[in-house]
Symmetry: C7
Subunit: 279 residues, 7 copies
Amino acid sequence: MNLFEEGFEFNPTVLLELLITAGLKIIVLLIAFAIIKPIGKKAIEASINRISTQRNISEGRNQTLQKLSVNIFSYVLLFILVMMLLSVVNIEIGPLLAGAGIVGLAIGFGAQGLVSDIVTGFFLLIERQIEVDDYVTAGGYDGVVEEVGIRTTKIRSFDGTLNFVPNRNIVGVANHSRGNMRALVDIGIGYDENIDQAMDVLQKVADDFADDERFVEGPNVLGVQSLGSSDVVIRILGKTKNMEQWAVERDLRKAMKEALDAADIEIPFPHQVFIQKDS
Amino acid sequence: MNLFEEGFEFNPTVLLELLITAGLKIIVLLIAFAIIKPIGKKAIEASINRISTQRNISEGRNQTLQKLSVNIFSYVLLFILVMMLLSVVNIEIGPLLAGAGIVGLAIGFGAQGLVSDIVTGFFLLIERQIEVDDYVTAGGYDGVVEEVGIRTTKIRSFDGTLNFVPNRNIVGVANHSRGNMRALVDIGIGYDENIDQAMDVLQKVADDFADDERFVEGPNVLGVQSLGSSDVVIRILGKTKNMEQWAVERDLRKAMKEALDAADIEIPFPHQVFIQKDS
Amino acid sequence: MNLFEEGFEFNPTVLLELLITAGLKIIVLLIAFAIIKPIGKKAIEASINRISTQRNISEGRNQTLQKLSVNIFSYVLLFILVMMLLSVVNIEIGPLLAGAGIVGLAIGFGAQGLVSDIVTGFFLLIERQIEVDDYVTAGGYDGVVEEVGIRTTKIRSFDGTLNFVPNRNIVGVANHSRGNMRALVDIGIGYDENIDQAMDVLQKVADDFADDERFVEGPNVLGVQSLGSSDVVIRILGKTKNMEQWAVERDLRKAMKEALDAADIEIPFPHQVFIQKDS
Amino acid sequence: MNLFEEGFEFNPTVLLELLITAGLKIIVLLIAFAIIKPIGKKAIEASINRISTQRNISEGRNQTLQKLSVNIFSYVLLFILVMMLLSVVNIEIGPLLAGAGIVGLAIGFGAQGLVSDIVTGFFLLIERQIEVDDYVTAGGYDGVVEEVGIRTTKIRSFDGTLNFVPNRNIVGVANHSRGNMRALVDIGIGYDENIDQAMDVLQKVADDFADDERFVEGPNVLGVQSLGSSDVVIRILGKTKNMEQWAVERDLRKAMKEALDAADIEIPFPHQVFIQKDS
Amino acid sequence: MNLFEEGFEFNPTVLLELLITAGLKIIVLLIAFAIIKPIGKKAIEASINRISTQRNISEGRNQTLQKLSVNIFSYVLLFILVMMLLSVVNIEIGPLLAGAGIVGLAIGFGAQGLVSDIVTGFFLLIERQIEVDDYVTAGGYDGVVEEVGIRTTKIRSFDGTLNFVPNRNIVGVANHSRGNMRALVDIGIGYDENIDQAMDVLQKVADDFADDERFVEGPNVLGVQSLGSSDVVIRILGKTKNMEQWAVERDLRKAMKEALDAADIEIPFPHQVFIQKDS
Amino acid sequence: MNLFEEGFEFNPTVLLELLITAGLKIIVLLIAFAIIKPIGKKAIEASINRISTQRNISEGRNQTLQKLSVNIFSYVLLFILVMMLLSVVNIEIGPLLAGAGIVGLAIGFGAQGLVSDIVTGFFLLIERQIEVDDYVTAGGYDGVVEEVGIRTTKIRSFDGTLNFVPNRNIVGVANHSRGNMRALVDIGIGYDENIDQAMDVLQKVADDFADDERFVEGPNVLGVQSLGSSDVVIRILGKTKNMEQWAVERDLRKAMKEALDAADIEIPFPHQVFIQKDS
Amino acid sequence: MNLFEEGFEFNPTVLLELLITAGLKIIVLLIAFAIIKPIGKKAIEASINRISTQRNISEGRNQTLQKLSVNIFSYVLLFILVMMLLSVVNIEIGPLLAGAGIVGLAIGFGAQGLVSDIVTGFFLLIERQIEVDDYVTAGGYDGVVEEVGIRTTKIRSFDGTLNFVPNRNIVGVANHSRGNMRALVDIGIGYDENIDQAMDVLQKVADDFADDERFVEGPNVLGVQSLGSSDVVIRILGKTKNMEQWAVERDLRKAMKEALDAADIEIPFPHQVFIQKDS
């Protein structure tokens, strides 16, 4: 497997012949790689372009993905070329490979998370699960997305905190900015009140809100949601435009409280029955 | 293992012979692959078609599965062909394999989750555990399924949020849209009330509901579910059509509360016995 | 390791000899496999049959297991045959093995869960831990088993939900349908009541129930289970037929409450001592 | 590494010689295995017998362990023999090994839990941590052991449920059937009561119980365990025969409550000081 | 593969020839490494410099990163050189590699966390997720960053504790020092109060604070956040300069409480309705 | 690599020579192992003896460790000897190694926990973290150690349960039998009481206990630990002999309660201010 | 690869030559190792010395680290030497390596935690995260450090328990002995009190404490921390010398309670509004 074994008879013709063969091989290899590299590069760029167009991915991000992919491709190609050249000139590449292996393994252990970040980030982008300015719950954080990076996503919480979430932590995304939202108000009335009358009063308030342009599906009184320990709970439900749900709920709560007051229907405090006993 | 070792005696006949042998091998390989590829493709498409027909899988999804499988098959076949050709023309493929191995391992680490997503997604489809418009609890999310993808399932929560759940997270599926649902109401009556009378009153309400077409199995009064700290809890149970259970429960609750009021049976507030003592 | 190395002297006799040897080897291999395949198939079917008979496994499931096992056996045998033939005709099988290895590893990563499902499913069946119509708690779900599959078990919850549980999630099974069940009622009496008298009253009720055919071991009053903050808790315990425990407990509770009422023994509300102080 | 390489000169004597050598090798191998197999079998059986005698393992279980061990030993020996024979007759066994490896790995992934079950089960038996009819807490389940299997342990809960626990889940065993158990009663007396007097009354009750044969170490009043929000808690502690602790505690509780009543010492309800204020 | 195999004919010329070839190889190797080392060093330093400049990384940290990278590079290069030299002089390097492998694996197991720390630390620096004096929540600790190390980050809690957090534990960073913060005050008013009047009073207070330079976005009254069991909760929201949020909230709370007092609007205590009953 | 390759010329002298060489090799090997085995055994026993003496390990346990170590050493040595002999007599040991590898791997998977148990058990003994009769909290169990085994530690809980804890579960040990223990009593006095006076009364009680020989560091009144909702909590702290802490605390509590009673200082019940309002 | 292959022609000169070559190789190896061992030892000791000096590591610990490192180095070197010698004298070392591998792997599985302990322990020492007598929270334990070992850290809890924490469990360290600590007291005043007056009174007490030498940063009244259900909570904050925080807080609490009493400002009990209703 190395020069020593064929060295029994020193023979210039053989050596020459060897040199020529090796030289030819090297030239073939170099040409092969000179051809493969630009083709591979083009292919990568083209396929990323195609995906980007299909998925409406922004030009900037498209560039990033292309550059990243082409870089990785080039380094791997270079590594293979060097190994092949060395093996052609008959230098033992085992140690080199072993060295590369040790470094690779060491980095691999630590970088496992990094690769995982990138793969997940790639799908977050491709599947458009998260977009800038979406209000999401992901990776245990809750807020508005400021940036979706290849490794990290930045989420701005409502208290102003900026959260850096490694993409691999985003195992499921709850995106609160994709469609209409629900407005839900539960109101408790006294056990002594007439349920039908209370529902009428509340439905009237709900009807007033039906014209509110923030509502997509007018609020309605559903019925008796539960029999609480001190009150009969009535649920009102509607569908609002995205991000309007909180304001709408606040307005609904105020209007309903005032309507019940006007109709003299009690929203009861906790009740307790007392039985006096002598000690 | 390479040309150098046989190079002791430069002999044109041998070289010619070598070239012919190699050429023949290459031709055999190319023919073999030209035969195997379309056969393999057909076989894959046919078997996916058969499964799709057996399982009522939609045409679109069938196409997706076929395309995915054939693509993977083609790339693997190409990889094997190239490796074999290189080894026939006596070029050391070790470095190439090592390069491919490193890239493969790196991607493998990160993509483990991806493969897991696809395998789980495949079974979700084949076993029809989840279908669009089902109301399910899966992967920690709760809502109506909007899309079952090869990698991600989209679940719309009742508050309007759209949840993206990686299939691998769906370890168990609770599908609430497969059959009739239970309607269950617990009502507490006072300790001083006659239990039999109360159960009669409640059963009468239940009987009224038995004709309600939303009920599949008429509601019935089961008996004393527990002796609470301030009330005797009576349970009413029925079976309703799918997705009607909440409305039915709300109606049941209202009717029963009104029936008990009419019969003058108390639904008690929390009780407490007070013993006065001098300080 | 390939033809080139022996090619120093082109010699027709040698070539012929080689062809004959290879041909003989191929024939031997084909014959060997033609013999091994049916024998292996028979052996697998026979051993599954034997196990099925021993364990009372239904014919249908028996068929499934046989088909699955024979299929896997055939594919592995075929794979080995092809590899051996290729190596006999002196084609480098390294790349093929590498290709198969990469695909295999990729699938293996994702399919690990699948194999785990099948192994667990196999033991669920063989050890008869779960059977259709059993009421079980397994994998975090609770309900009646509708189907025990090779990969997934379907459990119908009492609220009507159909749960799909991957078998690997079923690490422990609590089977509530294997034998008589316990009926247990705790009743609190007032601190001022005579404990002996209360226990007599309750024992009398228990004795009435002893004739109830739903009871396997008549209910008995055990004694003072705890001294609560406002009541002395007395425990009654019995053993009932399977699935009758809830109805029996409901009946016991009602009867005991009425018996205590009749005997004028108080089931107390929460008590509190009040000490008045001037502010 | 195969016949081709020595085929340069076709020479009948050599072939004959080869056949004789191979034949001799095969005979030697067969004889070696014929000797090793029964010896190994005997050795395994003997060592299991010795362990069983030392550890009082029942004959039935002894048989199971022997059969299992001998089976595994035989299959491994057979596998090695076949591989060696194939390599002697100069057939490439690489593919066979690869095939076996793939199947082995696939099963290994899924069966990891199975091996783990068996190893743990083995130690549960050898170390006698669990025996049939012991009352244990293990693997999250609580109850009486019905069977300790090689893979699964069956535990019967007190509510009648039969739990199947894979042995690997049994990471720690709390065995409640190994020795005397503690009886512990905490009783709260009023803040106004004389602690010494109350302790005397309780100690007298404890002394009465000291003769009870269920007690191994007579119950004793320990002292003031805590100063609660409304009561001074006094602890009574004793040691009882196994499984008698609950009945004993119930009897103790009843006797002590009656003794305190007789001595006119209050077991107080929750107290609260009320300060009246004008709104 | 070693000297013995070529030793058939002892021939001084061959030996000489061998020595010369080996010597030449060694010289080539040494030259190659002498060239590669400084180039690699320069390349590493240059690329770290470029990144540092782009990212505003401090000179000191830049130095640390360079030194660390160059060190690792040098040791790996040295290891490869030694292995290659040994293989050139025909000494079996298998055992050496095996020895290195065992040590490497042992360290690798334990050092996995270490590499993970460094990779994460690297990205914390590059992406500027954490900087000294930021107030962050990371790795379960909460406080002001005192140092971001290559392996450990030091966080000073507000109670004075100094926390050492391994970087790998920092899976997500909540950075509270990146932008304006939210000031949020919830105030409950009595159910009998006029909500509009209360909101006017509170808005007036909020308007007074709007001029406060600590506020970036003046506080505003949002509306009825919830209908509590005893109070109607009104929410006031504003945006403040970073780290001013707590002081601002304290001032807001005080001012609003005093304004409500002045306007005679009640902040209610918990309410309860008492129903007297005879025992 | 086997006999076939050199068999070109059948030559008795060569064969004889081969046999002699092999025979010599075998003899050398046997002698080498005959020398290594007793030396290794002695070395192991000596080093364990030395450690045992240094660490005060009991003679019995010393024996166990020696026997275990020598056994493992012997089996490994035997395995290596057999492999070497087989390779000397030119039998392909590949299949044997493969067979051993498969069995080894299978056992390895399941036995991982076992090795982990032994390693941890070894350090528990060497570092004397746990000794028989220590009161410890380890692996989620709490009680007195009955036995520290090589694989399992037995802990007797205070309720009489015997817990079997696999050593690997003992990740941290809280040993309550290593040094003096803390006695801590918190006592709440009324808000109207004079804190200084109360602290004087309590300090006097503490001083009485200072002479108690169970105390190592006399109990002292520390001051106002917290301002509770109804009481001012005062903390008393002392240091007692090991295992005396509970009895001491009980005595302290009783004495302090009586001292406060004598000094007419109130230990208050929960307080509440009542504001009457008309409905 | 072994003697048989060159044995075609028995030739004493060759054998002699072989012996000489082998002898020379052995001598070279022995000399190489004799040179490398002391150099390596020196290098290790020197580098540990340098680190120790830089980091103020105690002499004893320095010794421990040196001894440990030199030992490991020696054993690995010895192992490599033996392997090389065996391969020089042409003995198949494959089986030896396999044997070592199996033992190594078995120990490796179990010892993974051990290596992890040592690596973490090393960094705990080097980075001085923990020192003897520090009060720390680490690995779930809380107390004063008694010893930082290479494998285990001993932490003495305040209740006297000695905790043995494996270093690998110490993933994050909260060190409470590095700098000044915070003293924080929250005091609730009545809703009817004048907040400004109360803050004045409390600030006066705080000012008195400012001279206390235990305070590093005088305590200050911050303002209204929250509007509780029955009280307005005012926060006082200061910075104290390390370990003085608890005593200071106790003194602050007492002084402030007495100051508020003197100024006739109420610390309120829980309030509740009662609304009487007829049953």
